[in-house]
Symmetry: C2
Subunit: 239 residues, 2 copies
């Protein structure tokens, strides 16, 4: 590891799923760092590991951090704290470490938990590499214009946005509802009551082999949907 | 050019300024296409050209499109239409073409003008490569958390957002005001009247040699600011 990056902690966004959406900077940093911390599911499978697989990085610098990602954060809180100590120990020894974030590190990401802990230590140097978000990737996938000229854009988790859908669509040209798995049937009900014509598209796990794009939202009624699911809404006539 | 991409028109996001924020996919496409259309200013200087410079692409496939980017769109409308005809002529001849967009092609980008024209021709195949946005890059630059868990995010051009600042900050954890050059002194006045504690940071031309980050917004009063300028606002106590 070169001296300039000794002891640096990197938050590295690797985009939402397609390995080709990794930036040149993320790739350079991942090749250079001593340790790569990978959040992974309970089963040991890691979503972000699949994204970086094609880079062919040496797996002996991978360190998996097992998370359950449930609404109850107690258990994951412990896992984050343990990871934070391990990272700080490595930084102390002059080693560099990266935490891989799906999408962008500051946008609904696991990185934020680490970041909040490590920010309390002024000696810790942090560098953040932004990434392509799932909202940008989903829009690109289906050619959905997000913002023209003076358009306004809202990004809201579905659990909040669904009840305020009419007001959001009134004030914003484009509305992204994230994690729609938690409130999909209510979303259908709210959409039916919106009086202006709205274009709505459902996208899950964009850029991965499991990607699914659905134009007819009604066809998803009652289905179990994954966490990485979003709906893009745009008022018709907005281009 | 391989047969699979013959005749395809690519909208390629190259990120907001730092050449390292180009994705692997954008790089691959730019190397493969026959023609690269580059929006450029009146003087012939091209902001996006500087972003892709380090890729060392053959300059004989560059085609500059001169735009004035003023509020009056009449003249640029002609330039876009002319570029659209030139692109369609190339696609007809089995050639591929890319339009380079600063940031992300569907997020306040010149690409949208081309896209709207070319979408009218069903034979035109379009593929969009998403890019890192200026909002993600600015947040990463200063370690500004954009969205945790159930946070809501609004992105609004300053000309709209400034007058509704209190309401926006009430409903959204993070608010990005774009193109703040057009309404900066009014923004200062509105911010002074907001009663909740808000963290505000100004960033211009993020990731370029001309980048500037200013924490004390008051110090910018009365200054002439560039078009690529934004202010990030986040309610204190939101992490």
């Amino acid at each position: 590891m070169s001296q300039t990056s000794t002891g640096i902690f990197y938050g590295v966004g690797v985009g939402p799923g397609d390995p080709e959406l990794i930036t040149r900077k993320a790739e350079r940093v991942l090749r250079a760092v001593d340790w790569i911390f990978l959040p992974s599911g309970r089963s040991g499978s890691s979503f972000v590991r699949r994204i970086i697989e094609p880079l062919g990085l040496p797996t002996n610098k991978f360190r998996q951090v097992s998370l359950c990602m449930s609404r109850d954060r107690t258990e994951d809180g412990q896992a984050y704290r343990r990871a934070a100590s391990e990272i700080m120990e490595e930084l102390h020894q002059g080693k560099s470490a990266a935490w891989i974030a799906e999408g962008d590190p500051l946008f609904y990401s696991t990185f934020l938990h680490l970041y909040e802990t490590l920010c309390r230590y002024p000696w810790v140097r942090v560098e953040i590499i932004p990434g392509v978000t799932s909202t940008s990737a989903a829009a690109a996938r289906i050619g959905f214009p997000v913002a023209r000229l003076d358009d306004r854009v809202a990004v809201v988790p579905a659990c909040y946005g669904v009840q305020r859908l009419a007001a959001l669509l009134d004030a914003f040209a484009t509305v992204f509802l994230l994690k729609v798995n938690s409130a999909f049937d209510e979303l259908l009900a709210q959409l039916a009551s919106v009086r202006i014509p709205v274009r709505a598209v459902y996208v899950e796990q964009v850029g991965t082999p499991a990607e699914r794009v659905v134009m007819d939202l009604e066809s998803l009624r009652g289905q179990e949907l994954p966490y990485f699911s979003l709906v893009m809404l745009r008022k018709e006539g907005q281009g």
